[in-house]
Symmetry: D2
Subunit: 96 residues, 4 copies
């Protein structure tokens, strides 16, 4: 009989096995992601920064820029220096 | 040229895009897992307990039983009742 | 002036410093907890099981027993043996 | 007797109670932190950015600037615009 104590054993088993199969596939992909980061690292990339880039790329560009601007504002208010960006005026502005 | 500031833009982009593709696949599978739990719930199963079962099935059976025995021992020492299992002696033993 | 770009620098700093002070206190306590577990481990206790006991003690006893019963039911349905509890019949029942 | 099954019940109870007391204190502080953020939010601050600031302040300034520079470099390589900082040259440089 398939229902000890009110549980349909076959149905429960089917659910659990589907979940386990999917969990396995998910783990395989998680391992693949780890491998790509390892390969990038072996090529000289900073994977911590790469993870940050991947996270930022998920955000809408306008939203991201708004948050960056606010972060700059707060850090400036707290006297925390932030590096100016890739322009010739960078040295001038950071010296200001 | 592909290396602004020493970064090979094409290579970095290739790494990031591979990661993003894998992250997407991982998310799809995570959503599938959520769907199976939702389906199980709709069939009357307690998904919190199901998650516990899935976690326990990953453990070696001997290791799991050892941990269960230790948990029973600690709980007993602290006066926390645990339900006895599907046997006739259950009431007797919990009354001891 | 205290409001570069619309942020009251003094106020922001006050909030941030209060948070940092609290975070520090929280970290001190987290370290104390780690120390107690280390001391328990040095006395022969299994800290993984202790953590489980601490988690279970937060639950209402009736709720906990209900969940245990459900877990037993699911594991039984899936053919996963669970050890019987601290009674004289334990050996008999686990041999069955 | 204090040792059912080899566990010194009194000692185990003492450990568990010390942990629970510390966990309670930790929770109180965590609630206090939440309250400060809520107060900051009520004063118009963006708490998500505040959390980022608190995290960044834990880092050494040199280390933080190095990571920021690397992030800028990677984002630039991937064609992701970052806002220039609070200087007059900002518009010029982002147009470059």
């Amino acid at each position: 009989m398939s229902q000890p104590g009110g549980v349909a054993a076959d149905q429960l088993r089917a659910f659990v096995e589907r979940i386990e199969k999917l969990e396995e596939e998910k783990q395989t992909i998680a391992d693949d992601i780890k491998d790509v980061y390892a390969e990038a690292k072996a090529n000289g990339y900073d994977t911590k920064i790469m993870r940050q880039v991947v996270r930022l790329r998920k955000q809408d560009s306008a939203e991201r820029q708004e948050q960056e601007a606010l972060l700059d504002l707060y850090m400036h208010a707290l006297g925390m220096a932030r590096p100016a960006i890739e322009d010739d005026q960078a040295e001038t502005s950071s010296a200001a």
